[in-house]
Symmetry: C2
Subunit: 471 residues, 2 copies
């Protein structure tokens, strides 16, 4: 970040936070230079940046004044947050510990039902490679990872019309590792990144770990991503990297249209911003047709697309990747400093599994079941939830998003259900700032057996109690 | 770090770097407060710290002056280095890429000969677990990792007389991941850590990644670790964490005596410093008796001991651990934000392998071969290397450390040998500061077959040429 950008951002924060009111006079250039320790030129540049953005206005000879909050500013009510102050980690830690506890009904789990991911053929291939000395001695598991596997991943991109070759791909220890490596390669501490307002908590955790600042944009009730807010944010903040989820967004579930994706790509280029695309549910579209990754629309190598096999073949797989292109070397550097290599056994088994065309069959079967189980649970909830509740359903993934009346407290519901050995994901996990209290993400990758039905019954009862209590 | 420690460190750097000479007068307290922006009290505390350390002295009413460099300061000639300026990454990256290239004689490799690590029984167990649905669905691979495996690791500590239970252990994706997690959990950017002068490059890389400052202590020609320098460093610098390798030190090979380990433990407590112990070659002692980890001598929970199965069962294993004790939660937090889980398959197979007592047999066999191969190569080198060269050999591990005359350039030798498809590890990799030009780390885990003998012959020839050229 340039010095003047840094100063503009700092002043912007004072205005956003209400410390400086509309029509209040800003310190003169000379005063500001003294206060901030920056040069006059830097201060002038910062003031002019804010003026261009419509945040302040100049009066002849009299100086600069704070503008009225415009509609666009209200749109970005979120402002910039230092990720270090979010402290969601202990809440998330507590939550993750509970969802993995034995004997719990895992409605709160982030992972699909492992029974559905289990594939006999894949296990056989793993076992074959485990016994094959050669696949064990092979050194090809070092970064960027197994060449044959990278070729297969590249050809899957090509089938979607995305330019890609094996050198563009870096294999990682799952998607979370992929996303963290991409973010670390693209940022320095105190850089500004942009997130959707309601997101996978891992994005905030990564930002916190790397000492970044975060701008968020609100969700759009119809289109998912709020493209106007996105543009305003790029205009008004020195955003370096966006981390977005555009397909089967976690936790909300929507998939952004190609039209909006095109607009995003154009804005990335216009504002010279990079995009890390979190696309872990890539293969979980019920219609069988994968949504297009942002790399399809990106003519200027501004997108790093991250995905994984863990969401379709089991989290024990721990094999993800980054379509990293010009950043491949930088990311391999980081890998050589941290996780080193990815299991050669699993990489080799994946190569066979993909090349023998077992993967498509597995995915068809998996998506059929996910669609069916989710619909059954959705129907159950429509019938048994209090009428004040709304449930969002989309034709992909395995989550439902339950919206309770605004006065409800889903964290309280979460705590009550823990006593019944049922986990859910309360909405505050997905919004550390501007807390969202009244929603629940529900993992629906389970068949409506007796125990699941009893747990749903319990869930509906606890929700009804919460409504009755608070309403 | 306290403000006064920060200031003292900054002034210390000015003195270390020679910007302030002996008997030069320091700015007055008031002047220093103005220059530095710190309060008078902070400046006074900083000056008093430096006075206690003998770096500066006070003259009545006249102020503070820089002292002559004492013997202890000369001992710590290294000073403090911001890890960000080291830039060894591209050298290391280049080196690692070459050592993994197909068809190269891997004298430069950090990993033992995979043929020696291959164990039929372990492969069978892996294959069995790969086919077992239950071991795939098991959720026990999430942090802190498989309970049974943690119990086995704990009992191995207990057998050495180290207090340990399964809750103290966190399973990681190999040792490099373990060491990085431990360092990240214990430090904040700009903290000072202490390293040995000649070390595994991964320590510097980790420090660079986390924005730390590094103090180094010189090696001791007889005892390996220079305990006087160690104490002086803790006395004179605000060291927060030490990262040391005391058993089969990489690259030098020595193992520190129990007597010195006791002294280290006492100093850690006295100066309230934590130690991350890198002990990856733990099991590779030829006598069969493992050296004691620092946790054995540590009465005050100041040691985090890191090790791995990758150096004895193959790097594809990717299973390491931290004896993390009170830091277990903090480290699991970091894992949940980054690598998440470790392969459940490998963890399960390790449990069986250990509980069925295959591991000890494997290690006995492995160490016998390592001892034998290293001795044969050592004897070859003694016979064929120019007489100006010295070779260090110790009864553990699989490296030899070759010392060429000081005017030799092992990086040049490295580059020449690459053209012959032979890799070596030149000494500059292990000393980014105060560069060490004239040594070579040689991986000796290979039997003296024709191709290895030819490569050794070539190595001796290129070394002789270098000596002739430069001498």
């Amino acid at each position: 970040m340039f010095k003047s950008e840094k100063l503009a951002l700092h002043l912007r924060q004072l205005i956003d936070s209400g410390q400086w009111k509309a029509h209040e006079k800003l310190p003169s250039l000379r005063e500001q230079a003294q206060i901030s320790g920056y040069s006059l030129i830097t201060v002038l540049n910062a003031y002019q940046t804010l003026e261009t953005q419509g945040i302040i206005y100049a009066k002849d000879k009299s100086g600069y004044y704070v503008n009225e909050r415009s509609a666009s500013q209200t749109l970005l009510n979120a402002g910039v947050h230092a990720a270090e102050h979010i402290q969601i980690n202990s809440a998330v830690f507590h939550y993750l510990k509970n969802t993995q506890a034995a004997g719990f009904i895992p409605f709160g789990s982030a992972f699909p039902n492992p029974e559905l991911l289990f594939n006999q053929k894949f296990m056989q291939l793993l076992a074959q490679h485990a016994k094959r000395k050669q696949s064990y001695l092979n050194n090809d598991n070092m970064p960027p990872g197994n060449l044959a596997l990278r070729q297969m991943i590249a050809s899957r991109y090509m089938m979607q019309g995305v330019q890609c070759n094996s050198d563009d791909i870096v294999i990682t220890s799952g998607a979370l590792n992929a996303l963290n490596l991409a973010l670390e390669a693209l940022t320095k501490p105190s850089d500004v990144i942009l997130l959707q307002e309601t997101v996978f908590y891992g994005a905030w955790q990564a930002a916190e770990r790397l000492g970044l600042q975060v701008v968020t944009i609100p969700d759009h009730s119809e289109f998912g991503l709020h493209i106007e807010a996105f543009e305003k944010a790029l205009q008004q903040y020195p955003v370096k990297v966006c981390w977005l989820m555009l397909n089967t967004q976690n936790p909300l579930g929507y998939t952004v249209s190609n039209n909006i994706k095109k607009k995003i790509a154009a804005l990335l280029e216009q504002y010279q911003v990079y995009l890390i695309e979190d696309d872990v549910y890539l293969e979980l579209n019920y219609g069988g047709k994968k949504p297009l990754p942002m790399t399809y629309f990106d003519q200027h190598q501004r997108v790093l697309h991250c995905s994984t096999f863990s969401k379709s073949l089991g989290m024990g797989t721990r094999v993800g990747w980054i379509h990293a292109r010009q950043f491949s070397d930088a990311i391999q550097h980081l890998q050589l400093m941290s996780t080193l290599s990815v299991s050669p056994l699993v990489q080799n088994a994946l190569v066979d599994f993909l090349s023998q065309h077992h993967y498509e069959k597995h995915l068809r079967h998996l998506c059929l079941r996910l669609a069916q189980y989710k619909q059954v649970i959705y129907d159950y909830l429509k019938l048994h939830l209090p009428q004040q509740c709304k449930v969002d359903i989309y034709p992909s993934g395995y989550f439902l998003w339950i919206k309770l009346p605004e006065y409800c407290d889903s964290y309280h519901i979460y705590q009550t259900l823990l006593q019944h050995k049922i986990s859910i994901a309360p909405s505050l996990l997905f919004r550390p700032k501007h807390s969202l209290q009244n929603c629940i993400r529900l993992n629906c990758s389970y068949e409506l057996h007796t125990d699941i039905e009893q747990a749903l019954q319990q869930l509906c009862r606890v929700i009804a109690d919460n409504i009755a209590e608070k309403g």
